[in-house]
């Protein structure tokens, strides 16, 4: 191991927890019916199966890049499960469980990673809109925090009881847009829930390089926002604190910030090689013992909600859904090149007409540079 790797610093563990790493309750479980518990379990598993499948597709060159949620699933899942239909979720690239919980079609999740133009995906996938609203996933994290707060301002001004939830990370708390979003959320007292999925790594830099604060949660104090710090690998803890925050937001009590402490088990994404920068020999084992799915499964079995037969049924069903989704995503044909111009502005300008025609000629093997009058020409 190179000496240039970062030493990991384990974050303080005095956070809120309901289900301990062994799957035992430390306090009362949230009131969830058996079918709701199984829905959480199903989403946990479908995320793992789907992301594993996408990883294989990346290895075979079908998908350009995959960032997995592996090991962090409880945070986006517990958060999203606290919402209702018509709410909004501003997500990034590591919240697959939130998407699947609210039935964003798996084929769309895959297609967004295959690099197709959005119009092509919409046109070729016959899918239904999910019951909650998802703006497009954000790559520059932090930007979404400000937009989510704007979304919540719109709800507040229109006296709607919709809630906006936004997922951000440890790294993005260093961004101006994170600060702006938090600050506006406090000042305008908006119905938003801001969740920091603190997986302790932002590509190659650990959280101690993002902040000298002891916790990320305490940052919210400076913005006048109520805040919580929870075990991000405990879906019950995340769900309960997110539910309280959603209720506060919906009833006019303003925004809440929740830091969910988890750990990035794998690489940042498939283009990343963490061996170059982190020595995870201690933390890996530690966090493997705290896997969010294992502890939830243990709990469900101990409560008699899950048995081998149900588990096998769920797994078979997921395998089938993922296979179907992969087939659907694979059936999407590449975009017509001219599509790059679609939805730039609502109307086609001269330059758009002209450059479409140039591209068309080039694709036909004709010289595109034949217009010397600007009067245009046929594609």
């Amino acid at each position: 191991m190179s000496q240039k790797t970062w030493a990991e610093e384990r974050p303080p563990e005095d956070f809120y927890r309901i289900l301990d790493p062994e799957g035992k309750l430390q306090t009362d479980a949230p009131e969830l019916a058996d079918d709701e518990l199984l829905e959480l379990y199903r989403t946990f598993l479908s995320t793992r199966v789907l992301e594993e499948k996408m990883l294989n597709m990346q290895r075979s060159g079908e998908v350009s890049l995959v960032a997995r949620t592996f090991g962090e699933e409880a945070t986006p899942l517990g958060g999203a499960a606290a919402l209702q239909s018509d709410d909004w979720i501003f997500y990034t690239y590591r919240q697959t469980p939130a998407l699947l919980y609210w039935d964003l079609p798996m084929a769309e999740v895959i297609a967004s990673a295959t690099g197709h133009e959005p119009e092509t995906i919409a046109e070729q996938l016959d899918t239904e809109d999910p019951p909650v609203n998802f703006p497009p996933g954000y790559t520059p994290i932090g930007v979404n925090v400000t937009n989510a707060v704007g979304s919540a301002m719109a709800d507040a001004f229109n006296d709607r009881d919709t809630v906006t939830m936004v997922f951000t990370g440890d790294g993005s708390t260093s961004q101006g847009s994170f600060h702006d979003g938090m600050n506006f959320a406090g000042v305008f007292d908006v119905p938003a829930v801001i969740i920091c999925q603190n997986n302790q790594w932002a590509i190659s830099e650990p959280s101690q390089r993002q902040t000298a604060s002891e916790t990320f949660a305490q940052k919210a104090d400076a913005y006048g926002l109520p805040n919580e710090r929870v075990d991000g690998n405990d879906v019950f803890a995340v769900y309960e604190k997110a539910s309280e925050a959603v209720e506060r937001a919906r009833s006019g009590g303003g925004a809440t910030f929740i830091e969910c402490v988890t750990y990035r088990m794998g690489a940042h994404n498939t283009s990343d090689n963490p061996d170059l920068y982190r020595d995870d020999s201690e933390q890996r084992e530690y966090w493997e013992d705290r896997d969010p799915v294992d502890r939830f499964e243990t709990y469900l079995r101990s409560e008699g909600v899950l048995d081998d037969e149900t588990d096998a049924e769920i797994r078979d069903e997921i395998d089938e859904r993922v296979t179907d989704a992969v087939d659907q995503a694979r059936s999407i044909s590449n975009s017509e090149p001219e599509r790059m111009f679609d939805n730039t502005l609502h109307e086609r300008s001269w330059r758009e007409h002209h450059q479409r025609a140039e591209l068309h000629r080039e694709l036909n093997g004709d010289n595109p540079f034949v217009d010397f009058t600007g009067e245009g020409f046929d594609g």
């Binding site: 930007v143 939805n343 009058t373």
Partner: protein, 346 residues
């Protein structure tokens, strides 16, 4: 500035109006204020947000009286953060609002470029046209007011270079009313540039009824046969002054929309006159004049009787008060450029 009423005649055809509408004399900032009020009355999803726009009414008083009339949820004084203003406006626009953020000075926009590039201009495309971003960012731009640093910028190039946004610039009170109303009603993001140098310098009769002006058509300010001056905003007035003072029949085109450009009008004019001067406050290198010159070279080179000249700001930081008049193009610089292309012989 003086009276320039002969150059500022209303084109009532373009406004879809009777030839002699009721009018009121007003300056440009008053036209901004009246138009904001008109559009806020017309559509309750129009919300203003920005710094100092509430009780103060904007540093240039563009929003004066609007807080009183529409309340704090429609005229929103924000924390001091341009990135926050543009970022929350983007979030509102995603939710069906029609925000009209004000950035106090164009030189204060820089912190907002993140939200502008990541959220404002890209969302419509990224959602395949599903989520629209109907917001109009108002900004005073330009020099000539003896202001502090960062209060004189003309950085329209940054925006013009970016797809997914319109860039509009008004040059008179009546133009302001029609273009601002159309910008607010348009479903694309619009950067709306207001020439602060002439906020109060020029008055003209402005029709009192509602009207809009097209965002995709340049305006022929005066017709001429010898040389075309392409310009916009405050510089339209320098072009007029220069045109009155040269021995040439000058055609002046006020671009109005800097992005996209009305290329037909530009090429028609230059093809007719065979000579062209671009007049703008912005720095020369990659200023919009560079693109205009390139377009004319590509599509009307054989009609040119002289090379195109760009009378612009210099490629330097905007200087202090004491020498800013030497930086900015004025009537003389415009006149010299016109004379130079008139005297040129191949």
């Amino acid at each position: 500035m003086g009276s320039e009423s002969e150059q500022l005649e209303l084109n009532t055809d373009e406004m879809s109006m009777e030839s002699e509408p009721d009018t009121e004399e007003m300056n440009l900032i008053t036209a901004v204020n009246r138009t904001l009020r008109q559009e806020m009355n017309r559509n309750e999803s129009v919300r203003l947000l920005g710094y100092d726009i509430g009780p103060l009414g904007g540093v240039y008083r563009g929003t004066e009286g609007l807080l009183e009339e529409f309340g704090g949820e429609r005229v929103i004084d924000t924390p001091l953060s341009e990135n926050g203003i543009i970022g929350t406006a983007a979030g509102m626009a995603m939710r069906g609002e029609r925000p009209v953020p004000e950035i106090e000075f164009m030189g204060f926009f820089y912190p907002a470029f993140g939200q502008f590039m990541y959220a404002v201009v890209k969302t419509y495309k990224r959602t395949g046209g599903e989520l629209e971003m109907p917001m109009t960012v108002r900004m005073p731009y330009g020099g000539g007011v003896k202001a502090l640093e960062y209060h004189q910028e003309s950085t329209e190039t940054y925006f013009v270079h970016t797809p997914g946004v319109r860039v509009v610039c008004a040059s008179t009170p009546a133009q302001t009313k029609g273009l601002l109303a159309e910008s607010i009603r348009n479903d694309d993001p619009v950067i709306f540039l207001e020439p602060k140098k002439i906020y109060r310098g020029v008055e003209e009769p402005v029709p009192t009824d509602e009207y809009t002006l097209p965002l995709d058509e340049a305006r022929v300010v005066r017709s001429g046969s010898d040389v075309t001056v392409l310009t916009w905003g405050a510089m339209v007035h320098q072009a007029n002054a220069a045109a009155a003072d040269v021995d040439a029949d000058v055609e002046i085109i006020d671009l109005r929309s800097l992005s996209p450009l009305d290329i037909e009008t530009i090429l028609d004019s230059v093809s007719k006159t065979g000579r062209c001067v671009v007049l703008h406050e912005a720095r020369r290198t990659l200023g919009l004049g560079a693109e205009l010159s390139a377009l004319i070279n590509e599509y009307a080179l054989d009609r040119l009787k002289a090379p195109i000249k760009r009378a612009t700001g210099y490629d330097a930081h905007f200087p202090g008060h004491d020498i800013e008049d030497d930086y900015l193009p004025d009537d003389d610089r415009a006149r010299y450029a016109i004379q130079a292309v008139m005297n040129y012989e191949f």
